[in-house]
Symmetry: C2
Subunit: 441 residues, 2 copies
Amino acid sequence: MVVFDPSLMTDMYEYTMLDATLKDGTANRPCVFEVFTRHLPEGRRYGVVAGIGRLLDALEDFHLDDSDLKFLADRHIVDKETVKWLENYRFSGSVRGYREGEVYFPNSPILQVEGTFGECTLLETLILSILNYDSAVAAAASRMVTAAKNRPCMDMGGRRTNEWAAVAAARASIVGGFKGTANLLAAKLYDLPAIGTAAHCFTLVHDSERDAFESQIAALGTNTTLLVDTYNIEEAVKTAVEVAGPELGGVRIDSGDLAALAQRVRNQLDALGATNTKITVTNDLDEYAIASLQTAPVDSYGVGTQLVTGSGAPTCAMVYKLTERANNDGTMQPVAKKSKDKATAPGAKLAFRSYEYSLADCEHVISGSPNALRAFQPGEGWENLLTDFVVDGEIDPQFRGHDGLMAAQDYHAKALAKLPITAQSLMRGEPVIPTQLDVLD
Amino acid sequence: MVVFDPSLMTDMYEYTMLDATLKDGTANRPCVFEVFTRHLPEGRRYGVVAGIGRLLDALEDFHLDDSDLKFLADRHIVDKETVKWLENYRFSGSVRGYREGEVYFPNSPILQVEGTFGECTLLETLILSILNYDSAVAAAASRMVTAAKNRPCMDMGGRRTNEWAAVAAARASIVGGFKGTANLLAAKLYDLPAIGTAAHCFTLVHDSERDAFESQIAALGTNTTLLVDTYNIEEAVKTAVEVAGPELGGVRIDSGDLAALAQRVRNQLDALGATNTKITVTNDLDEYAIASLQTAPVDSYGVGTQLVTGSGAPTCAMVYKLTERANNDGTMQPVAKKSKDKATAPGAKLAFRSYEYSLADCEHVISGSPNALRAFQPGEGWENLLTDFVVDGEIDPQFRGHDGLMAAQDYHAKALAKLPITAQSLMRGEPVIPTQLDVLD
């Protein structure tokens, strides 16, 4: 049994920077941090924001218990004064950003975190861990769902990623449009449809395939899905329909040439009168494999490895950068680093998406002085991309839990539909709309 | 605050298979399951087993609390009788396998799990999640450590993977030979050296770089590492030595041409008398980048994205397959599936590594009847690769915690040193030794 809070899911430097800035006073400077990425994974047309609901959960849980404080003190990571400050730590700032399910592009200001330097700097690693992984999975899921058209995709990838990442991946797959998950903890935590068939071991532990099918039907009813590729698929399908009758819910094929096999199995099922029996395929599917199965008589896809590893892009390169902070006189000062190839754009940002003929044509990122930003008038029909998630420490509940997640799935489908259709191409290419950065005087 | 046990970190079908087999009696059949992989990631010469200590922790924690049981019942995933069985679930079987840190190859029987079908089948996803991710990270870490020769590598990758995966990655990096981690939860849980410098935001929140350096030195002493690439590296190095004196511990460079910059900074530091000040580099390093820095005056490497994503291979394709189960008369029966391209080798296995001139030359995997295996005599000098981790439900403590982890690091270094030197090449190629599967009559 493990009890945890996320307060040590951080890099050490966040606490040593807190310690140093508490001593020199800059820990109390109001700041704006921004999450963005300099580039999408190579060839991708858009990114998908995911993890916002989890991030808000983590923010609520982010406080240090006695054993955390003792660890920081014993290791001399922070001094006694800082321990005292941390005892009462609760994030009291504000967070706004792109909605969960929103699409994003290079330099989109995906998240803005406002608060004192001390309270914001502690969140860097946690925020990035959540957004980088969840968004990677959601982006892969979104492409797979596009490739699958109206056929449902199901997450079966838990075994191919860290056991906790598996839960996050199941959730992120829903953002991208998946319809269910094999992962029970995700199903429990987020009230999601849990799905499953049977493993080959289930067939093998029985004296015969027929025994296994009979057992599964007896326990789960005829609407269950039988795994038919343990020995010989043709014989298995015959046995399956003999055992379950033509009302058999489905069969799963997990090996071989899935298109050819699906066609043979469909014909066999139809000949046996099992015309409503569904065919599920699994076997290292990615968006390209799914697209190649478009003309095959497949009813649903179970996706594993390629989902949970982001289909070649297991992380998103999002970074968390200070863009503005107060001077001694309290005025806000845009700041930026000038590191080679990694320079940042100073100042808090506004973000809008403009449309032409109802299709997105540009991401507008606007920076400038606080006064200039307040006075800024967006173009006609520009959509504001920034939503408040946390205001002065108060977390808006609508973005969390099951409801927040389903809203994100819905939001994503709509956001994707408003992108030029090139976004739905699996071909490698540039981001489907440009990001224009305007600096106001 | 979250309290959890790993019992729902499973795919639903594990519970529905349990339910069905409890009804038909096969849940009680003694079984042997095996973890193996059909192939290494493309071009890799060896794999590294990691996660054994975490797996043993999870095994101890694997039992269902009331809310888990209620979830399974409410969703009708299992029936009342199965709920009753699950109330008392504790794994009472045995687990043996390759030591943590051991190298492995295609078809190495990495883990063998013995027990009833019911108790073993529940563990599939959890075991695979842990081994697949941890081993992917450890393999990447091992290659990076080889490339770094005697220079220490440090984990700074937490922000580029799921927040829990980050903890597992930090731990797995130690198996591969890393010397420390930025991740505080990993440092706390496994008593590891925590490392860190400062972020660019620390420089930016101060009115000047000099202010930032003075603050860091005041809080952390002159032995700290200052980040010098926020604005202009040459000026920053000058300021750093002015502020800290020639005793400055180190500087970090996080952008640009690291080899050229390290050389310039080394010369500048030496000219300023800071001849013992170390240079740490970070910036999307992988094993190839590290190798290319061999001749640059770099003292240590901070590795992020490429570590936690397995440097192109974020998972290991390990599977968990039933290889043997009891018949009704109690005799053990080797079993195997015959799925196209995914057939398995029946029967429990023995595993040995043979050596020639003190270098490994072959992995021998032996299967056959229980009697034949008992009678098998390995060749002279063959090393037995299977170690008992759990015997009849009793978990051996030596493989867990800090000590187990450091033993794994040590074990890995020795196992790698006994492989032909080709293993240490970063060039793509075949597994460095073959796996020979012998079936005894």
